[in-house]
Symmetry: C2
Subunit: 223 residues, 2 copies
DNA sequence: TATATTTTGGAGTTGACACTCCAAAATAAA
DNA sequence: TTTATTTTGGAGTGTCAACTCCAAAATATA
């Protein structure tokens, strides 16, 4: 996205209200291919580092095709954000939907660390990276990214809340705060791991936060 | 930075080995003005979103001046990173160099939250933002950013270590891990706050981690 | 003061980028 | 089958980006 060039229309509401008005099965497939290609490239190179032409090549479509499905690059970026929101949340299922025990939290932590290690600590979190780049530049993008984080936070919160509601946590624990703190530690850990190219920060952040959560557990062996 | 255009030279070592070979007093001032201008713009718009021409205008210099002091944009970016490393660490002094009590940690936390609130949660951490954008694209930049984080981590670590060495922490505490975890929570909190435009995530992340550190304190009232 | 070096002005070059256009092919609707 | 709509190909277009060049002014050095 080139600074603030050619930006005649500031409107950005109508884009996601009716995202797919009338698309043939073939059309939907093409559109999906474009979004997936854009998501991949923007994850690897950032939004500004990915040209529309790059996306065309990666998806194997022509210029007119891309602009048939997306009015402008910004609209494609919004579609990519929705795509990544689904991907990130989806790829953590079913772990994410059952974070209602210390064992489940530990498994989730292990899976995250393992996955990032396999990736070589490249890319970090798709939502986090997009957030860092776009939050102050594209209000519409910021909103969607915040929604993605909120979904994520809620999934964690539900798990902690379940533990709390089962009476396994001291009453002075605040599952909501802990969930948000855990997400923050995760995001920070991912960022630091990406910059340092090592698992240490991610492990330290998550482990400390899990330890902290553990410290609120009641009796029944705080394993 | 435009994709991978005109990138004939991959060498990037000689740039910071001898950063300021022979510069007049006037020359140093001009160079400093350029770096400060670039740092400001890149913090606000990202590296890719800031053109060399933008920097020229902001600093009030001509094209030949900028390219007299910096061989290419990438070299300017490296200078900006060094600048931000100093700025970030420097702006937290003297708080950062005396994080050797819970009270000091709390004051530091309060200052961070207050500052971000005043900023309207824009920009986040200069090092973190640059890290997110550049870590996977510019190896030299990644190294400098990692060094900046390391300095930061060390400052925190020294504080926690002092508490530990005074015997005020349980012996099973790991000041090194806690320091890194605290930095992760801070970075994640900053990122989430930037995306959500509210202090909540930053407060939750830091408070949880400070609570966790507090839980290691021995007797002497865990205030 | 004389000479070497650094600093500056500003026009110019090359290429990439976001986006447009128009007609043809494919598909759906009637 | 006919007609309307969607999908596609591919060649533009204008702008802006990074970077170059050369000579003049300012400053340091001898």
């Amino acid at each position: 996205m080139r600074k603030a060039t050619n930006t005649p229309t500031e409107s950005n509401i109508e884009s996601q209200t009716n995202p797919i008005p009338k698309l043939t099965k073939k059309g939907q497939a093409t559109r999906a291919r474009i979004v997936a290609a854009a998501a991949k490239l923007m994850y690897e190179r950032g939004v500004a580092g990915t040209s529309v032409e790059d996306v065309q090549q990666e998806a194997g479509v022509s210029s007119s095709q891309l602009y048939h499905y997306f009015k402008e690059k910004r609209e494609l970026v919004l579609a990519v954000i929705l795509f990544q929101n689904e991907q990130v949340l989806g790829s953590q299922e079913p772990l994410l939907s059952h974070l209602d025990s210390m064992e489940a939290l530990q498994s989730w932590r292990d899976a995250l660390v393992l996955y990032q290690t396999e990736l070589g600590f490249q890319g970090g979190c798709p939502i986090g990276s997009l957030g860092s780049e776009l939050a102050d530049l594209e209000p519409a993008a910021r909103r969607e990214l915040a929604a993605g984080f909120a979904q994520w936070e809620m999934a964690i919160r539900r798990g902690l809340r379940a533990i709390y509601d089962r009476g396994e946590m001291r009453s002075d624990a605040q599952p909501e705060q802990l969930a948000l703190a855990l997400l923050a530690a995760l995001q920070g850990g991912l960022l630091l791991a990406k910059v340092r190219k090592e698992a240490g920060p991610l492990e330290a952040g998550l482990d400390a936060m899990l330890d902290h959560i553990r410290s609120y557990l009641i009796e029944t062996s705080a394993k």
